[in-house]
Amino acid sequence: MRIRRVFVALTVAVVVSILFLSIYQTGQHENILRVTTTTSLYNTGLLDKLAEEFKQMHPDVSVQFIAIGSGEALRRAAQGDADMVLSHAPNLEKRYLDDGTLKPGKIFAYNYFIIVGPSDDPANVTGMSPIEAMAAIYTAGERGRAIFVSRADNSGTHNRELMLWSLASVNPSGKTWYLELGADMALTLMVANEKKAYTLSDVGTYLKFSDKLGELKPLVERGDALINIYSVYVVNPVKVPGVNEKLAEVFMRFITSEEGQKIIENYGIDEFGKPLFNAARGDPTGELKNVWESMAKLG
């Protein structure tokens, strides 16, 4: 009968496809390393580059990056769906360290957040310290002369922005000039460009997009409060069962090794003429750690 043939054909097709798909996921669990990472880091291409180099040494290992906001990256790790987290949100990281989800990690890179804004700079923040700049934007906003666009997505960048407002002792929440997008960095920059607004950005995404951001320019680029610290954590197998701790440790050692650090500090020179990241090189002075601590407390 015709319908039975159709039914059989369908069954066969489904079974065959699932078998075929399962070929994709061969390779033992021990050889798969799952890393949830902040989008801004992944989108620069640095991680694929690191994974490529790592694969030369460990050809049977598959490093899989899941690029999401820092908040989600940490949350997914806590759910047991990652072996390793790359994050740049000290206050959030602290929370997961305190509850034992993450083992103490390592700072492997840093760069600076930048405050970008319209080239005519209506709030006159050029040359100010980051915290003075935020206060100036707030004042200008209240006078109807400036707009600020916030990512409002619990990402590392968003958390830093909130920290800067609180360091400046102002609270823009709910103001008409304060636009909370709930969007990634790329879209946030595009919106800021359209609205001639100020925003906080990581340097990598800004450089990638700068050719599309004719109305904007970086106004404040230095200052301790803008240090953007990237840390790597192995998920704690005691708290979260099933973590591939061994492989995670190996990859962490690679990232923080001389070789890994060289890749990091040279990355971006080809494309932008200057590197996107500074290697932490074990943070010999302990200065990065201090900044990290103070930020974790502020969150």
Binding site: A13, V14, I18, R34, N43, Q64, F65, Q79, D81
Partner: protein, 212 residues
Amino acid sequence: MWQEVAEVVARSLLISGTATMLAAFWSIPVAMILTAKESEFRRVLLDLTNTLVAIPTVLVGLVLYLLLSRSGPLGFLGILYTPTSIVIGEAVLITPLIVSLSASVLRETRAGIWEMAVSIGATERQALVTMVTESLPRLMSVILIGFNRAIGELGVALMLGGNIKGLTRVMTTAIALEVSKGEFEFALALGGVLLFVTFLVTAIVRKVGKTA
């Protein structure tokens, strides 16, 4: 780079194709049951199905993520961040759509074909079989619509697949990634490829359906 694109295209077709077949596999029998008899209960179920057609893809993704997460009830399967999880997610996503559209196709056929079959002496079963075989060309279009929704959706693929390079990166997640990297031109090109491939599949299925 274009080799990678080809790979992503093939993966998208395979994943969404499997998801569509899987969804058709259970949706059409459900639609048959829902249209077999008129009753208040079935009408409510159909209304519910029609409502679920509007479900946001991210929501389906989130619910399934919580189920498939290692700490979730189905975590032991270990299929999160694999193509299989996207297959399941997309199949679930398009189920209401296929049920709803098949139900309306079958209800129309029922009024005519089913009655004719019964009136000429078919058993309930034979009438049902005739009804489905007669509806096949239109059910085929329904399945195609399901496929197009599956291959074009982003939320489930992103949430359950994780957009892992070489493993779960499909066309939509690749496009989203290129957009967030600022590679708008490349993203547009990928979008063109997606539409072209979808068009091709539609055309081929229609051609095959006509000769069958």
